[in-house]
């Protein structure tokens, strides 16, 4: 017996009696061959009372420098947006937190309706007619889109822009090695996908093309042109989109994109050291029956009441098995709930206003930083919430100096892009005020100056 299990001495006697054995071990002995029985206790520490577990987890938390502890401009795929309090309240409600996937729709109308509302919100956001109820996260959503293209046209090659997040490109390669596609990269020029190289990469053997909007360097791509270049050869056009700027940026559905995917963390989900969050997955009508993951649909019950069910299940693993559109079983329902609540909280006007605010503050930040000695813009493309600069001093050293001052200035691009060893990627959210940006400029300027002296000394 423990704080979670209830079998008393009396219970045990009655239960063993009913079963007809003398002990629980008899049940194991009868069913597990002796050769594979573990003959010793597990080599793990002894259990702890709740308060001691809490203290231990609190001590571990204290050894992490979170967005609570420093002024952070770190982005590169996940962003420190404000998560409204009502999301915490809703995602910890028993009725949303503890049920399973809705296999009995009569008692799961809450969860199924949330999925339906989420699908509607994503469809609106992306201007594409069809959305599923979520996938795990951004990079694996890109890989799933690659698999969808493979199912659609069977061609052997996927073309991906180097502007796509390095984790997405790597994940795509890992999956593609399994399902049998070659991944070919097209480089950037002046901070955006090189249009000539992109056009040259097209061909009848191309299954899908993938670009990111805004790209990994924060630049706004000409999405419509990239999509148009791929149309003649019939490749599936996949766009990985940051959802937050979709209040002001042309959505994928308006740019000729066939499948839009993206990382949903910015929509009401915490940083959580990288997960859990959710990935969104939306597409044109033509790809409806190839979509991975769960889809909720509207219907009626026997009395004519409006209701919701999981639908188009014949795509999925539990029915189609080896011919399924994906192997997804559990996805990210609770995180998608946070996502749709967040989009509802922002509302039609709020998403636009947020986008405009970020556009202005990002511009201000880029101007402020590039005015500093030893800091240059890495590219001059339009930016909406993140931008890249080049530092005339070792980036890791500069970051370390800034962090000593309680400011995390951004991401060292050299960690992923060897051609940008001197690059720093700076992210702006609505939580970073003008005063914060001014402080960043001051601290960064001093750090670069100090590290330049250190190098020349």
């Amino acid at each position: 017996m423990s704080r979670y299990t209830s079998v008393t001495e009396q219970d045990l006697r009655e239960m063993l009696d009913a079963i007809g054995v003398g002990s629980v071990q008899e049940l194991f002995d009868a069913q597990i061959p002796a050769g594979v029985r573990l003959q010793r206790p597990l080599d793990l520490p002894a259990g702890l009372p709740e308060q001691d577990v809490y203290a231990h987890l609190r001590d571990l938390a204290a050894r992490n420098v979170s967005a609570e502890d420093e002024l952070t401009f770190l982005g590169a795929g996940m962003y420190d947006h404000y998560v409204p309090a009502l999301i915490d309240m809703l995602t910890t409600r028993s009725e949303f937190l503890t049920p399973y996937t809705p296999y009995q729709p009569e008692i799961s109308q809450g969860g199924l309706q949330v999925m339906f509302e989420y699908q509607t919100a994503i469809s609106e956001l992306t201007a594409l007619p069809v959305s599923n109820a979520s996938v795990y996260e951004g990079p694996s959503a890109v890989a799933s889109a690659g698999y969808l293209a493979k199912l659609a046209n069977g061609r052997p090659r996927i073309v991906v822009s180097r502007g796509v997040h390095p984790h997405s490109r790597e994940t795509l390669r890992t999956y593609a090695h399994g399902f049998g596609a070659e991944v070919v990269e097209v480089g950037l020029r002046d901070g955006v996908t090189d249009p000539d190289a992109w056009a040259a990469a097209m061909g009848d053997d191309v299954s899908a093309v993938v670009f990111q909007q805004p790209n990994f360097l924060g630049a706004v791509e000409d999405a419509a042109a990239l999509a148009a270049a791929a149309k003649p050869c019939g490749a599936v056009v996949v766009g990985q989109y940051d959802p937050i700027p979709l209040g002001i940026l042309a959505p994928p559905g308006a740019c000729g994109v066939d499948v839009a995917v993206g990382e949903g963390q910015s929509l009401g989900n915490r940083l959580d050291f990288g997960g859990p969050s959710f990935g969104f997955f939306a597409a044109t009508e033509a790809h409806l029956r190839r979509m991975p993951g769960r889809i909720a649909g509207e219907t009626k019950d026997v009395d004519g009441r409006r209701g919701f069910v999981l639908t188009l299940q014949t795509r999925e693993q539990h029915i189609r098995r080896e011919k399924a559109t994906s192997n997804i079983c559990t996805s990210q329902a609770l995180n998608a709930l946070a996502g749709v609540v967040y989009l509802t909280w922002l509302g039609k006007q709020g998403l636009v206003e947020l986008g405009e605010l970020l556009l202005q503050r990002t511009h201000y930040a880029r101007q402020a930083l590039t005015a500093l000695d030893g800091v240059e813009a890495l590219h001059e493309q339009p930016v909406v919430r993140e931008f890249a600069v080049r530092l005339a001093a070792p980036v890791d050293r500069v970051i370390a100096r800034c962090q000593e001052q309680g400011v995390n200035p951004g991401y060292a691009l050299g960690r992923d892009l060897e051609e940008h060893e001197d690059g720093l990627l700076v992210a702006i959210t609505e939580q970073r005020t003008r005063a914060d940006i001014d402080r960043l400029a001051s601290v960064l300027g001093a750090a670069v100056a100090a590290e330049r002296v250190a190098v020349t000394a």
Binding site: A18, V24, P41, R58, R93, D272, G275, R305, A324, G347
Partner: protein, 494 residues
């Protein structure tokens, strides 16, 4: 009075509520000089997304009322077979919410995320100990993601030895994610038969285990609730042809501290943190599917890997030339690691062993009660005499004798306030009912559930129509799933 009816109708979606101009978000004031022409017109959105316009009270009321149309584990018994619906301790929400965990950016410098890396390191060691396989990756996001990792690792292993293999074996009782994963990883599925005792048909396996087979994927105990008595021989056959043996950890709750997949001979194991390790199911995720592997598979594990130096400092290592690469962004679902780690520290070695013992005790007791009440006459156990942590009944006799199907039984259970067990899985059993009570249920609950099943069968003997048209007391009754599939409406038209 139409207005009042509409206001009370909770099947209106959030898109059908609110009014133009309402808002819950207050945008911060523009505090920098306004600049024009920052974004070329051609790149701008011309029509705003038609998101709802509601105030905070309206949003709260809408979603709170929606939540009340959900049955959940906190509220009642949820014996879904192979899902391990055990209690989700609330401590876990508190610790996962600490800012040091919740607001930590995944790209924070490792020196400044030592608490997180130590937590992950400790969790890896603990899972490795439970599995009996030392090398762990926490990266996969769900069980089926872990399965994909396992099959891709197998591919890398064979390719590294210059071998080209094309087939993966799965038993015909396998969960659908297994064959789906096999196809995604570029292999072809070959089914292995099940013997009358519920385990793998060893002779069929022997015939099919050729050198073109890359892997055999098994769950043990399997989806019939049977621990394969021939597991050692099976491992020998598979390893004998140079293939890997993969363990689907969905049923780990039966064997923690009793038997370890590594000791059974498995090369690769995946865990479902949202099953045995209490990550809440969330209505369909998030989950987590870490994997543990043997020495020979270790070189191919995903990157990044957590490493510890001589001074006890943790770091993320990306240098692994034979690695299959990554399967997702960043490090995995850290929020689930915090909860699972808190669970493992709460229970300790003894507690995990107690959990499995109690899970097996509860399942066998429930089965015994069903036999005592005569339920098992109409719904006999499909295989064997006893069971592990779950059991599968066949509703075929009930259908013949009483005229109600497993589906009808499940729907009538809803009226009794229970979530039904898993229905129509595994496919091998006709009118299957797969029952897994888990260790966190009391004897009283198990007794009540058994009584409810008995009552439904007695009722069906008198009047089968009652069950056939059930449920009656739920927010909606049986739904037209065929209509939803024929003419899919998967978003609100606006």
């Amino acid at each position: 009075m139409t207005g009042v009816t509409v206001a009370m109708d909770e099947t209106r979606t959030v898109f059908e509520k609110g009014a133009p101009g309402r808002r819950a978000f207050t945008c911060p004031q523009l505090d920098v000089p306004q600049a024009d022409g920052l974004l070329p017109e051609a790149f701008r959105r011309t029509e705003p997304a038609r998101l709802p316009e509601l105030t905070e009270p309206e949003i709260v009321r809408h979603y709170v009322n929606l939540s009340k149309r959900n049955f959940d584990l906190d509220s009642g018994f949820y014996p879904l077979g192979s899902c391990t619906m055990k209690h989700n301790p609330r401590l876990h929400e508190r610790v996962a919410g600490l800012a040091g965990h919740a607001r930590l950016h995944p790209l924070q410098a490792p020196e400044r995320a030592q608490g997180a890396l130590e937590l992950m390191w400790n969790l890896e060691r603990a899972l490795g100990e439970v599995a009996g396989l030392p090398h762990v990756s926490l990266q996969p996001s769900a069980g089926s993601h872990g399965e994909l990792a396992g099959v891709l690792l197998t591919r890398a292993y064979h390719e590294d030895r210059g071998e080209e293999r094309h087939l993966v074996l799965t038993p015909d009782t396998a969960h659908g994610t297994n064959p789906a994963t096999v196809t995604m990883a570029g292999y072809q599925v070959v089914k292995v038969a099940t013997s009358p005792d519920g385990g793998v048909d060893v002779e069929d396996l022997r015939a099919k285990a050729t050198e073109d087979v890359a892997c055999l994927m098994l769950t043990n105990p399997n989806t019939l609730g049977v621990f394969d008595p021939n597991i050692e021989e099976i491992a020998e056959i598979v390893h004998g042809v140079g293939a890997t043996l993969y363990y689907d950890g969905a049923n780990l709750n039966a064997v923690m501290g009793q038997s370890r997949p590594g000791d059974m001979g498995f090369d690769i194991v995946h865990f479902n943190l949202h099953k045995s390790f209490t990550q809440p199911h969330g209505g369909g995720g998030p989950g987590s599917g870490p994997i543990a592997v043997s020495d020979r598979i270790q070189p191919y594990l995903t990157v990044p890997r957590i490493v510890r130096d001589g001074e006890g400092r943790f770091d993320l290592d990306y240098q692994a030339p034979k690695s299959i690469g990554r399967l997702r962004g960043f490090q995995g679902n850290y929020g689930t690691f915090v909860r699972s780690y808190a669970y493992i520290r709460s229970l300790g070695a003894e507690g995990l062993q107690d959990a499995s013992e109690t899970a097996v005790l509860n399942a066998n007791y429930l089965l015994a009660r069903l036999r005592q009440l005569g339920v098992a006459d109409h719904l006999p156990l499909a295989f064997g005499e006893h069971c592990m942590h779950e059991f599968v009944l066949s509703g075929a006799p009930m259908k013949r004798e009483l005229g109600i199907k497993t589906l009808d039984l499940a729907k009538r259970l809803l009226d009794h306030g229970f979530h039904p067990p898993t229905v129509y899985f595994p496919l091998l059993v006709d009118e299957a009912l797969l029952v897994e009570p888990t260790e966190t249920e009391t004897k009283e609950t198990l007794d009540a559930f058994a009584e409810a099943l008995a009552a439904i069968l007695r009722e069906a003997a008198e009047d089968p129509e009652k069950a056939r048209n059930a449920p009656y007391t739920t927010p909606v009754r049986r739904l037209d799933e065929a209509g939803a599939a024929k003419r899919p409406v998967i978003r609100q038209p606006l």
